[in-house]
């Protein structure tokens, strides 16, 4: 298939890329832009490991065409860190065991980031519901809830440093 030129904005940077019109967003991110944080794990939009945010909404990049994202702001896990430091959520996922093998973690980061942006103080059930869009085979999710709650507390205290050594 003949390539076409598309313009993508990823993590606040503009890229001009020649890609096949049928190329998936995940493949463009991983292969053309070298942003390998987003993972391919199920191939059929059932696991959430490829989740990125498109204009702030979590989307499964393994089943979207890259060309369809022109003019939208794409955020990948690489765009999450806070000026070179871990965000409260990233720190809490490490401290509370929310991440073991880590393969699903980038997807969870994008999903939880959306949850907390839209609902800064979610209930236990709301956290569970939000996380159900992503699969994990290591953690049984329990420590993820602890991590999310710890991140919320850290945010509420207004200081990300609070979380250091909290456990």
């Amino acid at each position: 298939m003949k390539k076409e030129l598309i313009a993508l904005r990823v993590n606040h940077r503009a890229y001009e890329l020649a890609v096949e019109p049928n190329k998936l967003l995940l493949d463009v991110l991983r292969q053309d832009l070298g942003l390998t944080g987003s993972k391919q794990a199920c191939d059929d939009s059932s696991c959430g490991a490829c989740t990125v945010q498109v204009d702030g909404i979590p989307m499964l990049s393994c089943t979207m065409l890259a060309a369809s994202c022109e003019g939208q702001e794409i955020t990948t896990v690489e765009g999450v860190a806070d000026h070179g430091a871990l965000t409260a959520l990233q720190k809490a996922y490490g401290d509370f065991g929310g991440s073991q093998c880590g393969f699903c973690t980038p997807g969870f980061m994008m999903t939880v980031r959306w949850l907390l942006a839209n609902n800064p103080d979610p209930s236990e059930d709301e956290i569970r519901d939000a996380l159900s869009s992503n699969l994990c085979r290591c953690t049984g999710y329990t420590q993820m809830y602890q991590a999310v709650r710890a991140a919320i507390e850290a945010e509420q205290k207004g200081s990300k440093r609070e979380l250091v050594g909290a456990k």
Binding site: T36, A41, D43, V77, E78, D95, Q100, C101, R137, C138
Partner: protein, 856 residues
Amino acid sequence: MSDFSVIGKSIAMVDAAGKTTGAGKYTDDFSMPGMLVGKILHSPYPHALIKRIDLSKAKALEGVVAIVTGADAPNQYGILPVGHDETALAVEKVRYIGDNVACVAAVSEEIAERALELIEVEYEPLPAYFDPEESMKAETDLIHENRPHNIEKDYHHVFGDPEQGFAEADYVHEARYIANEVTHAAMEPHSTLASFEIDPHTGKQGRLTVWSSTQVPYYLQHKLSLVLELPMSQIRVIKPLVGGGFGGKSEINPLEIIAAVAARAANAPVKVTYTREEVFWAHRGRPRTIIDLKTGVKNDGRVTSVACKVVQDGGAYCSYGVVTILYSGALLGALYDIPNIRYDGYRVLTNKPACGAMRGHGTVNVRFAFESQMDEICANLNLDPAEMRRVNLLKPPTVTVNGLRVLSYGLPECIEQVVRRSGWNDRKGRMPKGRGLGVACSHYVSGAANSIIRSDMPHSTVNIKIDRDGGVVVYTGASEIGQGSDTMVAQIVAEVLGCDISRVKVIAADTDLTPIDLGSYSSRVTFMSGNAALQAAEDVKKNILSAAAKRMNCAPEDVIMRNDRVLRRGTTMSEGSSTWSDSSSGKDAASGHVDGQILRGSVLQTRKEEGPRDHMSFEEAVVSAIDFHGGLTGTGSYAPPAAARGGKQKGGGVGPSPAYSYSAQVADVSVDEETGEVTVHKIWAAHDCGRALNPVAVEGQVIGSVWMGLGQALQEEMVWKDGLLMNPGMLEYRSPSSTESPDIECIIVESIDPEGPFGAKEAGEGSLAATIPAISNAIYDAVGVRLRESPFTPERILAALRAKKGMKRIEMTESVDPTAPQKLREHGGSLWFRGKGPMRHPLDPARQGAKAGGER
């Protein structure tokens, strides 16, 4: 030493930031200039001879660089020396739907896939075997010619006097249990990148470097050497981050060899990454297991004898099968005190993907049977299930009737904890209709005392290099797969050297750099690599202490390393305090932080003039030691003690371990009698891990094990129809999501093993096996039906409820999704294969049998 400064405290894993930021690299994240994509052609037949392969059309396609078939690498290999029955690509014969036939290396995935469709393969279908008990009757068309009756291996063990034991019993219970097949479904699909270098002296293809998602880099190096006929020294295996293993990457998966064979033929780097569907076909999971179990007990619940017959549906290759069937029998012992055991195990070949090792290897399904049967006995004898477990406890230190040595034994406290926390004594039997409690126990090895390849070499070796910058570099072959092995090694080394953990850099699992280690399987890493790390750190510490002692004018025994400082015993500064009254000491010119003075060696000059000191910084002590010894390295290794290596009987090498972990669990469930749906409200899981080196990681391992057991108990199942997998996708396989996952409370029990590193034992597998029977027993408590076949799906529960009421069974979907695929690769993954689906030989038992889904 009772108080520690590094271990015993929850810390984030040393690689956590890479995982939460996406910076961490897994195999598929790597690419190289000129790299080709490898795609594998799989067999659409469960059992067939390959009559002809025509590659000409595929090779003519622009962009195809090389195509390899079985003839390109015919040497046999297998993870076990007794099971070398696999080839990288099929030679003459395919043995399951999905078996590997050819691999195309092309410039893009799209071209490689198109080339696969152009490969013409002519097959001659053979009768295929799908049911292990049918397969055992086979006389002709054997799956492997050297395995009569398709039996890979059978073992018949007798310990004590089982017949006498049954004669002494007041009550004997007997039943058949079936645990259906499950798979690891690690989030990361297997991936391998292989690349050859040109040898500068010969000018020809030389060294091979392989990056692979493996739990066992050294076994991979060994098997690559066998197949490619390259010396091991010419092969470098590097394990990047691995996205979950659970045993699925604990042996050599076909793609790991295929990628190297393709790279050799293409003269270019080749990366092969499985699609999710291929991961299901590669499998190596927990086999469907049929367990006929008979237990004799006294009226008080004391077990007098156990007879157990196990048939495992092993799939088309040996894989870990011989070990699996041995674990199933051996680990009947070492949990409870069982005086007499008879075990008959059959590992059977069938025309399905090979089963291998999966979390709780070999023990899980038999434990389901045993713990369920205990519950049945309690119901019949009116005993309390927790009490029956108490009366059968071992009295360690002891050696079981089948030769397993047990030293630390935290099971009594595990039972105590879950009974108390779940409110067992008050709630059991007093719950509303449809709700119940169930208890079960389990255990697992902390590494196998005998390695797969028999030798006297250490199972783990760790090297440490410390340089003048005060950095501690630890080289370990242990394979981090998400369980925290790198962090564990760093913690142990930091604890022994009394230094800050941020000084410690772990270089792991790179066969060129790190000393040999058997890998991450059978929960061996903390115990074995941990002990090796402990010894290596002690080794290097010795030299630091002796140099520091000279500077302090005291004996080495009087020097203490702690909180990143080195001090003379009895120094006024309080030990254990992290802040020092001598506040300048951390920042003075001698600390190494200023202007590279450490490198110039001026420190010693300055200090000599000052005379003896009673404390110094870590860097200062290191520089002293390097100046004194001319270098600072340490090494340590671990081999299990002879006393832990088990009995001499045939097959007695599998089961023995230097230490066993213990688990007790209570499940609180409710059952909807209208729909058959089970809701697990909570599971209390107490796990004896010896000592929790990193409690948050131990909790993560225990909760993860319980959760995976819950998946096997309630919904996960590999559903087969004539050798074709019906559910090769993450949703179809029904891995539980967060909304289907209950609260799991982990209680850590520390029995402090005398031989473990700081007393630690395994944490990653032992809890899984108790979950399935705990749930089954709770279902019985809730609605009075006994589920002897897992998973306990609504269909099976409704069938059991109807049978109890004397009603007719309703055939619903037999667990088969009506949208399930009719042929290979119709479903999930890339939809590139347009094969015709499985054809049946006229004599195929699956065609003749009534139950197997009829003709196609």
